[in-house]
Symmetry: C2
Subunit: 165 residues, 2 copies
Amino acid sequence: MSIIGETCYHRAMASKTRLPGRDALRDSVLGGDLVFLLARANALTLAAANAALAEHGLKARSYSVLALAADGARPTQRELAEFLRLDPSQVVALVDGLEQRQLVERRTDPADRRANVLVATDAGRDLFARAQQAARAVERGLLAPVTPEEHERLAGLLRLLAFPD
Amino acid sequence: MSIIGETCYHRAMASKTRLPGRDALRDSVLGGDLVFLLARANALTLAAANAALAEHGLKARSYSVLALAADGARPTQRELAEFLRLDPSQVVALVDGLEQRQLVERRTDPADRRANVLVATDAGRDLFARAQQAARAVERGLLAPVTPEEHERLAGLLRLLAFPD
DNA sequence: ATGGACCATTGAAAATGTCAATCATTGGTG
DNA sequence: CACCAATGATTGACATTTTCAATGGTCCAT
């Protein structure tokens, strides 16, 4: 859930809607509201990412889980939940989906037999590699109007917000 | 909907969880993924904003609608939907809620009698003023580790992502 | 005047988010 | 060692959000 949805409403609205209204809103109080800008930027980028990942049968979420499994961090589901800020029960469902497609495996953590550690299968790493291409292409597209230095700065600032310690 | 939820899982997790795992994840592929960082930053800031707005009986969404009504932009519901990226039917519910609390009024747009224009009541402007205080305090808190110039840069970059033209 | 597009609204179905309860396991303490 | 409170995963129930198609009123270009 976000302020803001990925909502389409792309249906009828593509046309020559009265633009002045939109621009007026853009200059309103919310235009300087960080929470709002973050929410809207998130909604748009997420929608773009999901669209690109769809052809690989993934969404941003499953892609994230697969990514973490694929680079050998061997996260437990508990760690995934915290990192992705999902309820553990949502992680169960997500992992179920990936496991059924044989992209990841649950291995019980030898250090703590309550926990499952996630590892990607060969097929999983494969799919991830391809999906990552798509994801990167999207990111490049989104960041087209931004110089590489600005890109790095943006990432750094977002990290501060995303991981306040 | 976001990659990432506002999810709590604050229940048991406050304690001395094995931190190494989390840090490993942070340095994984996703750590450089803009879409992910945006989603996580959004989840956290949104949760903080919602918590702060709760005492005024608002959430980030209703606050946003109230904000736009309150500063006299006279948006139609259609414009709200596009700006907030919500389905028009969600805007209906949102406005219903605010109107029942007498914070906003629907006025049929004299220029187009199909459309409703939203205006805040005195009570609505009042509540907004107070809620805005809370919202700004949250934002200050979130941006504590960031200099004012960086703050501006961040807002500028986010605007590029939030309003690609 | 007519027809096609558009706004707001409704209602239903799918997807998500939230939460409490359960089982197996852990780790610390008496 | 035996116990017990705390933790990881899982399930199922329930609430909220999202998505979408259908409808009635209005606009506008022909």
